[in-house]
């Protein structure tokens, strides 16, 4: 009786041990078999560690009184002081609103045009003509931001072509680039001019994948173009629209500072200064690294929170489907 008990207890302890050993051996074999795959991963991992993760660690200077001579580690801690300074500074509200408005208005005005363009192009049955039109409509996407803003300055200057028309109509030119009231409009409209065609590619491709059976069935029922768009095209586009909207809304605080910075003039700063251009100026032009790092971190945190929030809202509205 005792013997039996013994053997079972021995078995009870050795079996898992053997199993664990076998698993270790199996894992070791897998690692050994895939050793070259891990070697291939090294460059990517190294680059990411150095250029993505070290800056994340470096972001702790936002909580320090950073002194370049002492380095990141030995500089004294100041806690949330920089964040408080920013939040209670007089330009906090302006910066936050400028950033938010530029992005939100851009999303609201820019979201529909590519969809409408795709629906519109989809009605053109001649494939060759359609491709030529797309070629022209996509081209502005390849113009660099420096050239786009350079063109804006030329076209909107006091003696530029737009003011040539304005002067004929009203008698005096409008100072578009130095009036803060026009900044957002110019930024957003030129963005739509440049990006609408390109942004429509995904919608156009989705529409091209819609089965012709659906249209034929709709024709049998005597549906007109708008009814077909409403009942066939839009439902097909819905998933892409959702993804694009979530991505754009989640990136709302990451508005393109490259263009905003170029469009800034000393006169339009009241509406053109956004958080990221402010970070650049305070940090790299004035050398206040710690404070500007805190402002940048603040912006990023808002952005992550927004992304999670928008994704959740869309999930609820879209039957549990988010990103």
């Amino acid at each position: 009786m005792e013997k039996v008990y013994h053997t079972t207890s021995a078995a009870a302890t050795t079996v898992p041990r053997i199993a664990k050993k076998r698993r270790d051996k199996a894992l070791w074999d897998r690692l050994k078999r895939d050793r070259w795959l891990y070697v291939m991963l090294l460059p990517g991992i190294l680059l990411t560690l150095v250029f993505k993760y070290i800056p994340m660690y470096g972001a702790i200077i936002a909580f320090k009184n950073y002194n370049p001579l002492l380095g990141i580690l030995r500089s004294p801690w100041v806690g949330w002081a920089h964040f408080q300074e920013f939040i209670f500074s007089p330009n906090f509200t302006t910066l936050l609103l400028n950033t938010f408005k530029l992005s939100a208005y851009g999303l609201l005005l820019g979201f529909l045009p590519p969809i409408i363009l795709a629906l519109s192009l989809n009605q053109i049955m001649n494939k060759k003509i359609r491709q030529k039109l797309q070629l022209i409509l996509y081209a502005p996407n390849f113009i660099s931001v420096v050239i786009i803003v350079g063109m804006l300055f030329l076209f909107l200057s006091a003696n530029g072509p737009i003011n040539g028309i304005v002067t004929k109509l009203t008698g005096k030119p409008i100072m578009f680039m130095s009036n803060p009231g026009y900044f957002r409009t110019i930024y957003i409209l030129s963005g739509i001019w440049q990006g609408m065609g390109w942004a429509s590619i995904l919608y156009t491709a989705t529409l091209a994948g819609v089965s012709t059976d659906l249209y034929e069935a709709a024709n049998m029922d005597g549906a007109n173009i708008f009814e077909k768009i409403w009942h066939i095209d839009l439902p097909a586009l819905k998933p892409v629209m959702v993804i694009n909207f979530v991505l754009a809304a989640g990136n709302i605080m990451n508005v393109g500072y490259e263009k905003a910075y170029l469009m800034q003039t000393s006169m339009n700063i009241p509406s053109s200064e956004i958080i990221s251009t402010y970070v650049y100026k305070i940090g790299l032009q004035s050398g206040d690294y710690a404070y500007s790092a805190a402002v940048g971190l603040f912006n990023m945190i808002i952005n992550v929170v927004l992304l999670l929030f928008v994704n959740n809202v869309v999930k609820k509205l879209n039957d549990g489907q988010g990103l």
């Binding site: 470096g58 409509l137 803003v149 350079g150 491709a205 490259e258």
Partner: protein
């Protein structure tokens, strides 16, 4: 499709639709045509009357002045080098990273992927990145523009999706023949992945070619400036070089010339991409479509 399929109402809608698209095409083309014509204008006529289609008002003065200075040409050459080196490095790193991550049996695949994906949403920001580049001694060096951006998670996701779609039998057969993963990757997988490599290369090239911000913060040496920074000096900061404007010109004339130089500069610098793009359009379209595949 046969026009008879459409009702009268639909035909009216189609006419309106054509008008709308025609309007959009015109809106797209007009600024580009205007810039091109303006770049050939006589500077005084341009500033006082705007563009004209009378050949008597046309000159090539703008172009002569732009090429009188080396900065544009130098910027061009720098940009070609930066864009090419950057794109090669990006494609290489992307492919090397994406292939192992496309293997479902790779131990630790999930966590490694997470390690990369996190960086899409969280980052140190502009200032810590700048301090890192500075501490690495990469300020005012070519490396600052080429290396840090070479790792891009979107690219990895795209390439990984592509590799996952390739038939498994190929690498299995090669394994039986005794090839190791490195040989399989370089001899079998990379040649198969040429289309996606080309798409990634084009995107990286155009992206690097058109960007100015990193160069603005990292590169101070005028000899190393890429084209976009040279353009910024001329177009945005109104600082065309003395060689272009000419030293002994009067204020009013200088203003006219500066205007003309800007138009000529825009045409010269955007011409290559605009001319090349139609040949590559299908690859760019493909890039958008592969990019939309959720990773």
């Amino acid at each position: 499709m046969d026009m008879k399929m459409y009702s009268k109402f639909d035909r009216h809608v189609l006419v309106v639709n054509r008008i709308i698209i025609g309007f959009l095409v015109i809106i797209t083309v007009i600024p580009l045509v205007y810039v091109t014509v303006a770049s050939f204008m006589d500077p005084a006529t341009l500033l006082n009357k705007g563009i004209s289609f009378n050949p008597a008002d046309w000159t090539t003065q703008g172009y002569q002045r732009v090429f009188a200075d080396h900065s544009i040409v130098r910027g061009f050459l720098n940009s070609i080098f930066y864009s090419f080196a950057f794109s090669v490095l990006t494609v290489l790193v992307t492919m090397l990273t994406a292939y192992p991550l496309s293997k479902p049996s790779l131990y630790g695949r999930g966590p490694i992927m997470m390690f990369f994906v996190i960086t899409m949403f969280v980052g140190g920001g502009l200032i810590p990145t700048y301090l890192l580049i500075k501490n690495l001694g990469m300020l005012d060096s070519v490396w600052a523009l080429i290396v840090p951006g070479a790792i891009n998670v979107w690219n990895i996701i795209i390439a990984r999706t592509y590799f996952s779609g390739l038939p498994k039998e190929l690498s299995e057969a090669a394994t039986i023949d005794g090839a190791n993963e490195m040989q399989i990757f370089f001899k079998i997988m990379l040649p198969l992945a040429k289309p996606i490599m080309f798409v990634l290369f084009l995107y990286a090239f155009v992206g690097q070619w058109n960007s100015y911000f990193d160069a603005m913060i990292y590169i101070k040496d005028p000899n190393l400036q890429p084209l976009q920074l040279v353009l910024r000096n001329i177009l945005i900061q109104n600082q065309p070089s003395q060689d272009m404007v000419g030293a002994s010109t009067a204020m009013a004339e200088m203003k006219q010339i500066a205007e003309l130089i800007k138009y000529a500069t825009i045409v010269i610098s955007s011409l290559p991409l605009i001319v090349m793009y139609p040949f590559f359009q299908k690859y760019f379209d493909k890039g958008v479509l592969v990019g939309s595949v959720k990773g």
